[in-house]
Amino acid sequence: MDISKDKLLEMYRTMQKIRLFESKARDLAMAAEIPGFVHVSIGEEASATGVCAALRKTDRITSNHRGHGHLIAKGGRLDRMMAEIFGKRTGYCKGKGGSMHIVDYSLGILGANGIVGAGLPIATGSALGAVIAGKDDVTVAFFGDGASNEGTFHESLNLAAVWKLPVVFVCENNGFGEFTPMATVTSVKDIAVRAKAYDIPGHIVDGNDVLEVFRFTSEAVARARAGEGPTLLECKTYRWEGHVVGEQAFLGDGSYREKSEVEEWKRKCPLIRFEKWCAESGKISSAELKKIIADTEKELADAVEFARSSELPAPSEVTDDVYNNT
């Protein structure tokens, strides 16, 4: 597959945005400048980016608790995202959702979700909605290896397969459900094989290779759009940070993974890998990449400034938006 230079630049920009946004979110949470639970996806940038690069604006995604990357990749604005995790009125959800619940319907982002596995039936239904409405939009469900043990995973794959719905199930297998190693609680080594049980295609994808993710997703999306039904993609990846920022505070010395394992995965950094590919293929110069980094740093700094200087919601807003009164 020939990927245009603009697309390559866009993918790199997205990965940088995620890396920088997540690093900043982690620092702000550690400094207690933002409230609540923050789950960052440093190390997993390629799967969010490669998947969303294969989507168009009217396609939709559902995401999970570790959702910042998916939202950025689908076009989420850093300033309104940052304002949301600060709990500000200018945030995407007016401060009612926070880090785990950012939504932008205008971009087809049906939302991050705090319940593991909840996004799969919603994505399945979103795909059903497209069929009912006679549109050819595709929906992607992002979820983790942990969610693949939820009933909703199995029910959604079955329903989507039976109705041949235009949905792509993207499992980001980072090896851990919270603090529990996947292998100790999962009956299969590869989540992708679970596709067989529902008679749909399942593929293992190198989740740290943005180009491979993009290629597999493009194929699955084309299949879905053509009415041929769902696909399960398993992106093998790893999170460099903990399950939740600040977990050391309650885990103490209770380590659940080896430092050497983390170091090994850091050597597989998706951004460095892409940079190397750019150099080797000669497609993009290092000056172009550096400019993207500088632009993104500026965009992030502006986003943090926007969030900090935005107003908190007024207590009177607490009762707004429970019901739609139209």
Binding site: Y105, I115, I122, V131, T139, T152, L159, V322, Y323, N324
Partner: protein, 323 residues
């Protein structure tokens, strides 16, 4: 005006609303066949795209209804029996109910959930429960409990047009009840109680299948010059508090009759509201008539012992009027 049954009223409401809006569609367990008759024949009118049998997989398809609503369609989602909602609690309570609020008002969730509830003779606890109380403290939902065919049609049509998740609880024992129902457009607004029968001595607020029971008790007591006002709230969320309080202001006595349980039930909630906002009107304690706090049993004499009935409504009325 044609006389039709509760079940036919459901069928009419769905057919009319699907006729009206091509994005309204039906999904659920055995809706193609129409297991209880409510959705019978809709497949012939609207085709397989808009009338969909789901697998018996409540979390999956209830969650899919949420996603379909977020994609701009208007699903009518049936789970056969209301106790099956427990299998989809997350999808209703965490997703459908909350996502509008959590998204700062971005999500619109026009879903109508339908299910049969209540004791209908030997169905045992997992097919006979009154489960709306479980949803009463979930902000974001609307709860509708029709007591007869005319309200069934009018409330269901309003529920389908509503831009929020609405659960319509259809009492199984009312299925073949019949009454005059307007053909064509007939809308009953959500949040407006019905005074089923005016009276002066005591208010009976009755929910769902307790309405016809309360009506027959009221008729009986009229012969003894006990004048009973029967109020059917019709929807628990939104609740027409004004209608209930206005009635208590007039009668100064209230009995709340519900087939749900005593502790934490809908009757408890209504009693608290009356105690809170209508205390000065009261000349007697608020009395609740509910089912016993036991799972609804299978064997007929046990089921009868568990379920609130006319005799208990009558006893409660006599207790508060002192006659």
């Amino acid at each position: 005006m044609p006389q039709i049954s509760f079940i036919q009223a459901i069928n009419q409401a769905i057919a009319e609303e699907m006729e009206r809006d091509p994005l309204t569609f039906l999904m659920g367990e055995d809706v193609v066949l129409g297991a209880f008759g409510a959705t019978k024949g809709l497949i012939d009118k609207f085709g397989a795209k808009r009338v969909r049998n789901t697998p018996i997989s409540e979390a999956g398809f209830v969650g899919a209804a949420v996603g379909a609503a977020m994609a701009g369609t208007r699903p009518i989602c049936e789970v056969e029996f209301a106790s099956f909602f427990y299998c989809a609690f997350d999808q209703i309570c965490n997703q459908a109910a909350k996502l509008r609020y959590m998204s700062g008002g971005q999500a619109t969730m026009p879903i109508t959930f339908r299910a049969v509830f209540g004791a209908m003779g030997g169905a045992a606890a997992q097919h006979s429960e009154t489960v709306y109380a479980q949803f009463l403290s979930v902000p974001g939902l609307k709860l509708v409990i029709p007591s007869g065919p005319s309200d069934m049609k009018g409330l269901l049509k309003s529920a389908i047009r509503d831009n929020n998740p609405v659960i319509v609880f259809e009492h199984g024992a009312l299925g073949w009840s019949r009454e005059d129902v307007p053909a064509g457009e007939h809308l009953v607004p959500l949040g407006k109680a019905a005074v089923k029968r005016p009276g002066d001595n005591v208010t009976v607020v009755a929910i769902g299948a307790m309405v016809p029971k309360a009506m027959s008790v009221a008729e009986k007591l009229e012969k003894e010059k006990i004048s009973v006002e029967v109020i059917d709230p019709r929807t628990l969320i939104p609740l027409d508090e004004d209608a209930i309080l206005a009635s208590v202001e007039k009668t100064n006595r209230i009995v709340i009759a519900d087939e749900g349980h005593l502790r934490g039930g809908a009757a408890a909630d209504l009693a608290a509201i009356v105690a809170d906002k209508g205390f000065d009107f009261l000349d007697a304690p608020v009395r609740r008539v509910t089912s016993l706090d036991v799972p609804i049993p299978f064997s007929p004499p046990l089921e009868k012992a568990a379920i609130a009935d006319e005799a208990r409504i009558e006893a409660a009325i006599r207790a508060v009027v002192g006659r």
